[in-house]
């Protein structure tokens, strides 16, 4: 057999939305935020585990993580959580077959499930944005 050239897009295939629709970007962001939350969760367990080392160790750890860069990092976790939670709920609705339409006879110009789902997608993204703003206001005063 002749030599074949590998052409699988790999990680850039799911990271890059290209000229596809906004659902494709939501897909990438859902995975990125999921990985971010997982990283935070592991760090969180390690940090809270410092409490077993005594009060002094705990307080010095808290002082270290109370600095501005880590506060900004925590705010990013809030943003990630808001998007991931709301988008996850949307995906559950989709997987139950809600607001994606029913199969029929396709006629041109074609419509499809992601287009029929678009209004709900926008509603969910607005909810995520509102949660992010609330988190932002909260963090702004915390940082003050």
């Amino acid at each position: 057999m002749q030599q074949r050239l590998k052409n699988r897009l790999g990680i850039m295939g799911w990271l890059g939305g290209g000229r596809y629709g906004m659902d494709r970007y939501a897909y990438a962001l859902h995975r990125i935020t999921g990985l971010g939350i997982l990283a935070y969760f592991i760090m969180h367990i390690i940090v809270t585990g410092q409490r077993t080392g005594g009060v002094e160790r705990w307080e010095s750890t808290m002082a270290f993580f109370g600095s501005t860069p880590f506060k900004i990092g925590e705010f990013l976790v809030v943003l990630a959580f808001a998007f991931h939670a709301v988008n996850g709920l949307r995906l559950i609705f989709v997987e139950l077959g809600w607001w994606i339409g029913k199969p029929g006879t396709p006629s041109f110009p074609y419509t499809y499930s992601t287009l029929r789902h678009r209004p709900l997608f926008i509603v969910f993204m607005v909810v995520a944005a509102v949660l992010m703003i609330i988190g932002g206001v909260d963090f702004y005063f915390v940082l003050k």
């Binding site: 002749q2 030599q3 074949r4 050239l5 590998k6 052409n7 699988r8 897009l9 790999g10 990680i11 850039m12 295939g13 799911w14 290209g18 000229r19 596809y20 629709g21 659902d23 494709r24 939501a26 897909y27 990438a28 859902h30 995975r31 995906l91 989709v94 997987e95 139950l96 077959g97 994606i100 339409g101 199969p103 029929g104 006879t105 396709p106 006629s107 041109f108 074609y110 419509t111 499809y112 499930s113 992601t114």
Partner: protein, 286 residues
């Protein structure tokens, strides 16, 4: 461009075709090659490639057949999206540069020719045919399997798939997971599972609901966006998930395959068919 082409009044503009070239017999890396192509009204990307082959470079390779969006052979990555070359007019791309590459997520055989064998293997793995318990009836049919119009609508959309492979090329999960079944095979699986004449869910679910099955799909929707026949693979995959959810809680419809209709006997044509109107123009022989 040759002289006769520049003088042709039907030419509305000239576009630059940027085509990916790959020769498996040489040691050269794949490269983009430019061609100037005169465009006439209604000219498709496939016509442009044909023009290049005829006038500029006979070594350019691609796969095509019907040139009318039926056979699904000419899937290519055109200006950033997987499309059928025969189904897209150059003027509708709204650009003076047409970049043509082979479909991503498939190995390249040569130039614009992707290796679709992996797609067909996965397609076969979902057993895309009617599976029934009455195999005797299937082997030696005595009549038709009953199916209502409403039951037909449950799957007919997914039966329009022409296996062009654009959806697999657009899917972000296929991009990273080689073993993921992908939108086309999963849609083919649902097409038969949703068919009222079929009883093959048990045999298919090993593939459909495996760790590389439907649950790898997170509704990016790119498959449905690029499908040239309006098949909507994203919808089929969500319906597979919904069906599994309902069945796991005992809510799913108990499926019983459509019965065999009694054979039509003693039927004579013309019973209620009205007579043809009288001839208004006499035949030449009369």
């Amino acid at each position: 461009m040759n002289k006769s082409a520049t003088q042709d009044p039907s030419i509305i503009k000239t576009v630059q075709f940027e085509v990916l070239r790959y020769n498996p017999e040489g040691n050269e890396a794949p490269r983009l090659q430019n061609y100037s192509v005169p465009v006439i009204r209604g000219m498709t990307v496939l016509d442009g490639l044909n023009w290049i082959k005829e006038h500029l470079d006979s070594s350019l390779s691609w796969r095509s057949s019907c040139r009318m969006g039926i056979c699904g052979s000419c899937g290519m990555f055109i200006n950033g999206l997987p499309r059928l070359a025969c189904n897209n007019q150059i003027v509708h791309l709204h650009s003076d540069r047409v970049t043509v590459k082979p479909l991503p997520n498939y190995d390249i055989i040569r130039d614009l020719v992707p290796d679709l064998e992996g797609l067909f293997e996965k397609h076969r793995s979902v057993k895309p045919y009617l599976i029934r318990k009455d195999t005797e009836e299937q082997e030696k049919p005595t009549g038709e399997f009953f199916q209502s119009q409403q039951e037909l609508l449950n799957y007919i959309q997914f039966a329009y798939c022409i296996k062009c492979g654009l959806c697999m090329s657009a899917c972000p999960t296929v991009a990273t997971s080689e073993n993921y079944a992908g939108p086309q095979p999963l849609t083919a699986g649902w097409r038969y599972c949703a068919d009222s004449r079929d009883e093959g869910l048990q045999e298919r679910q090993e593939v459909l609901y495996s760790s590389y099955g439907v649950y790898r799909c997170h509704f990016a929707g790119a498959c449905s966006q690029v499908c040239p026949k309006g098949v909507d693979p994203a919808l089929a995959i969500q319906l597979l998930k919904k069906d599994a959810f309902l069945r796991s809680f005992g809510f799913g419809k108990k499926k019983k395959a459509g019965p065999v209709l009694p054979p039509v006997r003693d039927w004579t044509p013309g019973g209620k068919i009205p007579e043809a109107p009288a001839k208004t123009v006499p035949r030449k022989t009369e």
